[in-house]
Amino acid sequence: MRIKSYSEALRDALDQEMARDPRVIIMGEDVRPGVMGVTQGLYDTYGPTRVIDTPISETAFIGAAIGAAMTGLRPVVELMFCDFAGVCFDQILNQAAKLRYMTGGQISLPLVIRTTMGAGERAAAQHSQSLHHLFTAIPGLKIVVPATAEDAAGLLLTAIRDPDPVIFFENKMLYDSQMSVSDPAIALPFGKAHLLREGDDLTIVALSRMVGFARTACDELAQKGISADLIDPRTTQPLDEAAILGSLHKTGHLLVVDEGSARCGMAADIASLAASKGFHSLKAPVQMLTPPQTPIPFAPELEDAWLPSSGDIEKAAYTLLQKV
């Protein structure tokens, strides 16, 4: 174990896989200097054929990564901000996600698109979104939303070794968060939720940065004598339905916390799971805590109000239980 930041853990995991498998290459804008931090230094080790700076042409280089994945490489491509998925969405929606199926299974796509999500940087509406739900809605993709450095590293190993296209959402507000992590990283399975707290009164499902906030909220709730299961699904596709339903069966109360869209987002998705397969466990309305359905405002006061906080989570849990 070693103390590392989320960002360092990711970098080391990349390094680990590049050392292990010569087919792994990295592509993206400014990946040599490593503007986003994670790829820093890899160019020095692996050189220009494996660490490739691209033009500011996301369609071309993500498409190229898809083509490369079809033909023997295992590209890990960096899309600086998930907000930029708009300019290359076709390559993800209609190419990467569908090629295996459309070709009757002839094509394998060992591709990872690393990207960042998350508000809080005062980067405004076009650089702060959390769009994991848009990709979870596309069959053929796997979606990873790690909340901790350990998970980030372990899931990145799995993503790189996976034969299917993976969209890997790093929360940029977590990059500097430190913890003691396995060294070298240990691969973690997809579709296996992480139970961070155990309790009886309610189930809190949280994603990405909201997991940490929820952990804080759980500690506060514990002070008030309320105990919660805190579940981080870690991957939204595949989703560990059993973990969520199992916990719900025990607690009867569900709070979902997500930084993505309130409409057609992961909170709704998980709430719908409870309403269908978990209905008989439910003792109270499902609570969904998400930002309001607006673009992300620039002014710090507004952005802070926009993003769910640990206090909001605590309050939502409390309201939920009062409602019984």
């Binding site: 033009p55 042409s57 083509g67 076709d90 070709t103 394998s108």
Partner: protein
């Protein structure tokens, strides 16, 4: 024109098989039983044939909605393709792709594409693999003249040039994108100059003249294989039919359509030239035509007889392993 006899026969055979495949499709489609649209390549056969003549299985192509010709020229199996178009379990994509999504990675065919222009970046990727893995492979993206106005294509041209990737962009200039004349929505008439401005050699060629296509491709592929980067070829050839089979082409003059068939038929042009030059005998050529038609008839008969995919196929091939 100094091509060896077997090359001449091979080129003819490929062109003829593409024509026969699609003429068979027209007949079968009239009989009924083919679902969805068919975008036919008839009139443009010399392009796919002349280009793919230089490619081995290790070389990759990415293709378009009008892709039967590319697939056959790249060596895909006509029977599997026919079955695919009929939506059969025996189809090259197990019936899941259809006419617009034929692929055969073993032959280096990475797939036709229903999103115009989207295949260009994919071809870059195959070229990148070839370069990185040192296979000496090249890749070819076939692109319609209408599709050549997609951002994906422009971005790919720049990136291929910047990285000196072994790619060939083949723009098939049939004058139309669906019902609209391409020149009416394109700022320049010179697509080759436009491609060249991205930093690569580019050339306009007569796509009805297979020798022109063959020669230009040879240079381009040599250029790519020797590490000098991409080339664009803009090959002009008419679409004989409409955008899709059944399109009545109200937007197109009768004389334009007539001219295509009478004066711009790449098969007739080839045949005349070869016979005039005394390079092959008429009966050799005709035998190939005959064989092609009977092969395609047989492929269609087989496809009609084949079974559709089993219901369970709906849920396979989404991921490598079911989740």
């Amino acid at each position: 024109m100094q091509l060896p006899r077997d090359t001449l026969l091979r080129l003819w055979r490929t062109m003829v098989r593409i024509r026969a495949f699609e003429e068979r499709l027209i007949l079968e489609n009239r009989k009924g039983g083919i679902a969805g649209h068919l975008h036919l390549y008839i009139g443009q056969e010399a392009i796919a044939t002349g280009v793919c003549a230089h490619l081995a299985d290790e070389d990759a192509i990415t293709s378009t909605h009008r892709g039967h010709g590319h697939a056959l020229a790249k060596g895909c199996d006509a029977t599997g393709m026919m079955a695919e178009i009929f939506g059969r379990a025996t189809g090259s994509c197990a019936g899941k792709g259809g006419s617009m999504h034929i692929a055969d990675p073993k032959r280096g065919h990475l797939g036709a594409n229903g999103i115009v222009g989207a295949n260009a970046p994919l071809a870059l990727g195959a070229a990148l693999s070839a370069k990185t893995l040192g296979t000496h492979g090249v890749s070819v993206a076939f692109i319609g003249d209408g599709a050549s106005n997609q951002g994906a294509v422009f971005e790919s041209m720049n990136m291929a040039a910047a990285m000196a990737l072994p790619v060939l962009f083949v723009i098939e200039q049939n004058g139309y994108g669906e019902y609209t004349r391409t020149d009416a929505v394109t700022g320049t008439a010179d697509l080759a100059a436009r491609a060249a401005s991205f930093g690569m050699p580019a050339q306009q060629i007569d796509g009805t003249d297979i020798f022109a296509v063959y020669d230009a491709t040879q240079s381009a592929i040599h250029h790519a294989r020797t590490g000098l980067g991409p080339t664009t070829l803009v090959a002009t050839a008419p679409r004989f039919g409409g955008h899709y089979e059944g399109d009545n082409q109200a937007y197109r003059s009768a004389s334009d359509m007539q001219k295509a068939r009478d004066q711009q038929d790449c098969l007739a042009l080839y045949r005349n030239r070869i016979l005039e030059a005394g390079l092959l005998e008429a009966r050799d050529l005709d035998a190939i035509v005959h064989a092609a038609h009977s092969d395609m008839e047989q492929a269609a008969r087989q496809a009609r007889a084949d079974a559709p995919p089993a219901p369970a196929a709906l849920l396979t091939d989404i991921y490598a392993k079911a989740l």
